[in-house]
């Protein structure tokens, strides 16, 4: 919009301004991946309408797969962003907590029988119970961090280790299977709607968090606590409460993701469900350009970051990369991100930008 006015400053100045935008990192990564796929195989972007085995119309294609699997990550990224901003650390127990909430959902739906003919309770009741349980575990993590002042990664290590065993214990170590077809809608498709349901669930979560951030002081308070805890206390905030709240909100996100996960296969496998998903969620926050040490955050950037990571995963699957080698590729992304955001590298680039600017200026003068 202001391009004409800025032209005099030179391209480097404009580029510098663009690069400094927080949204630049995730969008640039997205663009890079899209461009790469376009060159390797334009068929990547093909989306076709077909019918699933239940006879309902469904869209299919790589982009839909990204939308589908990226959505659960986006939901988790919402909670993880708040936790990161408020506590300056990350929750690594997300995968285990998903196992717990998924297990709770199945337990409520199945009752005593691990393979019921009919559901023992409405799905919404099971989901609400799972929400409460997941929020309680979130509060547990939050309390350890806020009141006992344990480093978040260490505090959540407890649940990370114990969570999957708790999940197995909830169902007496049995593997329940739900035969009711309507339960599969949440991780699949609602009849008549060709877009995967997880996307709508993610959309609902995004709208709710957008409203909350706009209507309440959550953003301001969270950032204040994250930037400087003692000064926020002096200003009348309760930092402990804000931190616990952020973990409780993450718990809510976990419950939604848990519903999607168990719905996908209508069953659960305690030891592998949502395995290593916390790493992807944290990576989404980092990719969104949010400082991992807490403070300011950009929710939209995190959500885009989540879809970018799924974009990367899907691309790697498409290229037939061995699935057990995927974490190594993601590690490369982490390393690049960290190096780019390190103060020394930032200073170097800033210096380089200034040099370029002064050069072009001197040229204009000369």
């Amino acid at each position: 919009m202001q391009t004409t006015g800025k032209k005099k400053l030179g391209v480097s100045g404009l580029l510098g301004k663009l690069v400094r935008q927080q949204m630049f990192i995730p969008l640039a990564a997205l663009l890079l991946l899209a461009l790469f796929n376009l060159i390797v195989d334009p068929g990547f972007f093909q989306v076709s309408l077909g019918y699933n085995n239940a006879g309902n119309p469904v869209l299919s294609g790589y982009l839909i797969t990204i939308l589908d699997y990226g959505s659960e990550l986006a939901i988790l990224a919402i909670g993880m962003t708040l936790v990161t901003a408020a506590s300056g650390g990350q929750d690594i127990s997300v995968g285990a907590a998903i196992a717990i909430s998924g297990s709770v959902i199945l337990r409520v739906l199945c009752g005593r029988d691990s393979r019921p003919e009919t559901l023992q309770a409405p799905i919404i009741v099971a989901f609400l119970v799972a929400c409460v349980v997941a929020m309680l575990f979130g509060a547990f993590n939050g309390a350890l961090v806020a009141y006992f002042r344990i480093q978040p990664m260490v505090a959540t290590l407890i649940l990370y280790t114990a969570g999957r065993s708790i999940a197995a214990w909830i169902n007496n170590n049995e593997l329940p299977i739900i035969s009711e077809p309507s339960f599969a809608y949440f991780g699949g498709y609602i009849p008549g709607i060709p877009v995967p349901t997880p996307f709508f669930l993610a959309l609902i979560c995004m709208i709710i968090i957008a409203i909350v951030l706009r209507m309440t002081n959550l953003r301001l308070y969270t950032q204040a606590v994250g930037i400087n805890e003692s000064s926020s206390r002096l200003n009348g905030l309760n930092p402990e409460l804000i931190k616990v709240l952020s973990f409780v909100i993450l718990g809510l996100c976990v419950a939604v993701a848990g519903l999607i996960k168990v719905s996908r296969l209508s069953t659960i496998n305690y030891s592998v469900v949502a395995k290593d998903i916390e790493m992807d969620a944290i990576l989404a926050v980092a990719l969104g350009g949010n400082p991992l040490g807490g403070g300011k955050f950009n929710m939209t950037a995190s959500i885009i970051g989540a879809y970018v990571i799924q974009f990367l995963t899907t691309t790697l699957y498409k290229l037939n990369v061995q699935s057990d080698a995927l974490p190594a590729y993601k590690a490369v992304v982490v390393i690049v991100l960290v190096v780019l955001s390190a103060p020394t590298v930032k200073d170097y680039f800033a210096g380089l930008g200034k040099k370029l600017k002064s050069q072009s200026m001197s040229k204009e003068v000369g």
Partner: protein
């Protein structure tokens, strides 16, 4: 500053996670630690042997339990939540090695070889009489089993074999994974398709189950021009990963007519992807579905005709192990070093309700 530390940690975790699969890390450094209690452990073991035959004469189990002179066994298994197979296996172990039967059993679970080796070292230090082992990975066990031998701990392998000298263990009760794979591949060959375009979903790389079930298929694909692998990927026994792998093949539009999944969970994940894409599967349909482990629910899928084949992998080794321990306690040696259990393969066209009840786990 903090951010940097965290990120390095993050990166390290991810890299480690990807490397651990290869397992078999050298445990050389930890070995001397286990040497120390060797002498102590030897004494009780000798005592045990002298006493055991006497107890055997009259109601050995009750007698042993009453005197508090239990046989100490350390059981190292894979995580019981890994699959229905493992759950059944662990339950069988727990029901057999009870105090009533004269055993003092301790359990350790891990899907990772290095953690299992650490658990084995702990059991040896604790002075167990028997070490029962279902190894996550076939490699890397030599040094720790040598320690066990030096400490007078008798090792019995169950469920999975390892790459170690036979003298290092008393017996191994295993499924013949190669035979399982061969039975499955022979069945597939007998279907007489013109062309086999196979999606091959593998288990955790390096496990005996994965190697046996992969080996037979790989050989067949190499020997026959009309057998092709559309994709060969590990889903690490994980249904969700299997779903994503199959989804990726469907998105690419590559034709296929067989899904060869190395366990039932992964076959289920694959089928979920097919269902979502509207691809028919099962008896006389477009895609043949093959699984392993004969979970009850999987056999029910066979009955409904949604799947075509399921290979058995017998999880009930505990009674075999108990027999061997009793033989050794009685002063004898097991007649066979390697006990191979009987296993079947089920065809959806021939399966009966009786099969489901008998062999479903």
């Amino acid at each position: 500053m903090f951010k940097k530390k965290l990120a390095v940690l993050l990166a390290a975790t991810m890299v480690v996670a990807s490397v651990v699969g290869c397992g078999g890390a050298s445990q050389e450094a930890a070995a001397p630690a286990a040497d120390a209690p060797a002498a102590e452990a030897e004494a009780p073991a000798a005592e045990e042997e002298a006493e055991a035959p006497a107890a055997e004469e009259e109601a050995p189990a009750a007698d042993a339990a009453a005197s508090g002179d239990l046989i100490k066994v350390g059981i190292i298994n894979n995580d019981p939540n890994e699959s229905g197979y493992r759950t059944a296996n662990d339950k069988d172990m727990k029901e057999t090695f009870t105090e009533e039967n004269g055993f003092d059993a301790s359990f350790a679970y891990s899907l990772k070889n290095d953690e299992q080796i650490a658990a084995a070292q702990k059991f040896i230090q604790d002075g167990v009489d028997y070490l029962l082992l279902s190894a996550a990975d076939t490699a890397g066990w030599d040094s720790v089993l040598k320690d066990a031998q030096d400490a007078g701990v008798r090792v019995i392998l169950f469920d999975r074999t390892i790459d170690a000298d036979e003298s290092l263990y008393e017996a191994s009760i295993v499924s013949d994974m190669d035979a399982e794979g061969q039975t499955a591949v022979d069945w597939l060959a007998s279907q007489g398709l013109d062309e086999y375009n196979i999606i091959h979903i593998q288990g955790v790389m390096g496990s005996a189950a994965q190697q046996g079930r992969t080996g037979a298929l790989d050989k067949m694909v190499a020997e026959n021009d009309n057998w092709n692998l559309v994709t060969q990927q590990t889903a690490e026994w994980n249904a969700e990963k299997a779903q994503q792998i199959v989804q990726s093949v469907i998105d690419a539009g590559t034709p296929f007519n067989v899904i060869y999944a190395e366990n039932d969970d992964m076959a289920k994940g694959a089928v979920a992807a097919l269902d979502a894409a509207g691809i028919s599967h099962g008896v006389d349909k477009d895609v043949i579905i093959m699984g392993f482990d004969t979970n009850k629910w999987a056999l029910e899928e066979l009955q409904k005709g949604n799947w075509n084949y399921d290979g058995q992998c017998n999880p009930f080794q505990a009674s075999y192990i108990k027999d061997i321990i009793e033989t050794i306690q009685g002063g004898g040696t097991p007649s066979e070093k390697v006990v191979i259990m009987q296993e079947k393969g089920f065809d959806a066209k021939e399966i009966t309700q009786e099969d489901v009840d008998t062999y479903g786990i």
